[in-house]
Amino acid sequence: MEVTLTHFLVVSTLLFSFGIYGIVTRKNAIMVLMGIELILNASNINFIAFSRYGNFGLQGQLFALFVIVLAAAEAAIALAIVLNVYKTFVNVNVDEIDELRD
């Protein structure tokens, strides 16, 4: 079967679903971050696929680059927060962290 736009969209849909599943079911905060990265990758595949098949230049690729930059900033900030949470609560399980102050 010849590869068309639909194939890429199906791949990104499945990747997005796996990401949602990871975010909701995992307890460890770093595993939640991995789920977020999967979702960002799925959105990037969509951007680039539409950029290739939509006949409007390279804007989709440019936005995929912006998403990659935002993902890098997000990972750095999120890991700094996770480190602080670990210092305060001694674990990083998101279902046990339910207090805002000591």
């Binding site: 990747l15 679903s17 796996f18 599943y21 079911t25 460890n28 770093i30 680059l65 750095a76 480190l83």
Partner: protein, 162 residues
């Protein structure tokens, strides 16, 4: 079925299988390594779509930066006494059903829509076009992203030092 299609199915299979293992394996270190294969597969899909620079950026930033950062996070936030660092899971069955329904709805929309698609000519190299777009039409976003990265760097460093 041409060579292009075979390579696409190969990369799609690598991406989806390793993404599946990322969200199902209980060992965090193993999940991080499967995430590596997912990022490689996605970079391959970018190449198949003619996005050479984005694919390289994906490899450098995701594999070289974010994944290393995640593995550092795993190492720092666990008392390492043995190799297997487990993570618990909650509500797996209801979430699986819900996510399956969501995926079904999106897939139905994707498969039943008559997408407007004109495959553009595969560009020889996207580098010069992307560069001139970044410094002409999108220069404001480009500068803002630079400031954002600086703020994120300072913020992360000051938060982690406290």
């Amino acid at each position: 079925m041409g060579i292009y299609d075979i390579i696409f199915y190969l990369f799609a299979a690598v991406t989806l299988l390793s993404a599946f293992f990322v969200v199902t394996t209980r060992n965090i270190v193993r999940a991080a390594f499967f995430l590596l294969f997912t990022f490689f597969g996605v970079a391959g899909i970018y190449v198949l779509l003619g996005a050479d620079f984005v694919a390289i950026a994906q490899l450098i930033v995701y594999v070289g930066g974010i994944l290393i950062l995640l593995i550092f996070g795993v190492m720092i936030t666990n008392k390492i006494t043995q190799v297997d660092i487990k993570t618990g899971t909650i509500h797996t069955l209801p979430v699986a059903v819900g996510v399956g329904l969501l995926a079904g709805v999106i897939l139905a929309v994707v498969l039943n829509t008559d997408w407007f698609q004109i495959p553009t000519e595969m560009p020889k190299s996207t580098l010069s076009t992307l560069g001139s777009m970044l410094l002409n039409e999108y220069v404001l976003i480009f500068e803002l992203l630079g400031i954002l990265l600086l703020v994120a760097l300072i913020g992360a460093a000051s938060m982690a030092r406290k």
